[in-house]
Symmetry: C2
Subunit: 226 residues, 2 copies
């Protein structure tokens, strides 16, 4: 699936739009790679500056702090995923197949592709979401960040998902909670599978088949129409 898309980013996320310059794109791209490599806690703008052959001060011209950079990348991913869902559901009419499709898109580890070398790559972004995604909102800044609409992409995705659930079974009482829960579970189970495998029933060295089966069963049994 090739998507040549321009994702509109919330301009509260940056001081200078990173998409507008070579340096900006390098900051975001290598930011993603470096956070994945050393973890968000150990990640600093100084280290990133070295990777990108620039200075700390230059990075601060693009992003207020490392948290904003993190949110930038994570929300980019949510928007990207929503595009994928949009494309993936194109021409699909059966509500059941729609739900199966969205679950796969959410939970399946994306395959590495060649393109988009100069900006964010889906596979790396997916890893970032698994490891650092919840750190975007588990912060005392959540009130302010929410007012700045930083979480809109995530909310939109949940809303789309919830709409499909409602379409399948209009009487189900908790479509939003179910949607956000399944998204969260997909990532936490993926994390546990890699790092705390006894919390799952998935063999470490295996694809996401079982995880998807688990999620599909969970979803369809709870929204089943009796």
């Amino acid at each position: 699936m090739d998507l040549d898309l321009r994702i509109k980013m919330n301009d509260r996320l940056f001081l200078r739009n990173p998409e507008d310059s070579v340096l900006g794109k390098k900051i975001v791209k290598h930011g993603l790679l470096l956070i994945n490599k050393i973890g968000f806690e150990d990640f600093t703008f100084k280290k990133l500056a070295q990777e990108v052959n620039t200075t700390e001060a230059s990075i601060y011209r693009y992003f207020e702090n490392k948290h904003r950079l993190l949110v930038y990348i994570i929300t980019w991913y949510w928007r990207f995923l929503e595009y994928k869902v949009l494309i993936g559901l194109n021409n699909v009419t059966d509500p059941k197949i729609k739900l199966q499709t969205i679950i796969k898109l959410i939970a399946e580890e994306p395959k590495p592709t060649q393109q988009q070398n100069d900006f964010l790559t889906e596979t790396e972004a997916y890893q970032l979401v698994i490891w650092e995604g919840s750190k975007t909102y588990l912060t005392r800044n959540i009130g302010k960040d929410n007012k700045d609409r930083l979480f809109k992409p995530y909310k939109d995705l949940c809303e789309s998902f919830a709409a499909l659930i409602k379409e399948y079974n209009p009487k189900y009482k908790y479509p939003h909670s179910l949607a956000s829960s399944i998204i969260e579970i997909a990532h936490s189970q993926n994390f546990f599978k890699q790092n705390l495998p006894s919390l799952t029933d998935f063999p470490k060295q295996q694809d996401d088949k079982k995880l998807i089966d688990f999620l599909l069963t969970l979803l369809f049994s709870t929204i089943a129409i009796n």
Copy 2:
């Protein structure tokens, strides 16, 4: 439910056992309160030292760093919860009621009680789990920390939960994943309800009744025996 219990803590968590001294207990108690107040990111041992009227250096004699203190409190909570489960399931034989009971114990916001004034309180610990719980393991130290068995209390709780699921339906394929998922969801939904309510279907100013209903339906529909 009164529990006068002594929770055995993993001694890799501390340098000096905080339960053995007045200062140690104050550090842990006010550590919990202060993290809840200002958030883990802004929390420092220096600030805690001021709260407790001691010095930074003294706190470092008990805990290697703030992450260990966090894990200490969080794992204390998991152990505490497992005791509650143990007591709560005492004399219960019906597997269905067992599962209902454990869900309630996991998801229900504990009521404030008077006791345990000098150490950790359940209500505060519950808030900490919601806000900071996942930060215990979403770290590059997870491999080492896991070897030190820091996550054993959490694993044990999940294992107990999974065992009840297996008892109810021995044929269900994903008892561990389901157990850990429900625990995680309980907290993330609780967080969303407070902070990003559009991700849930629960009114902000209300008890956990709907959340528990959501979880119960989720659990029992997916493990239903056809």
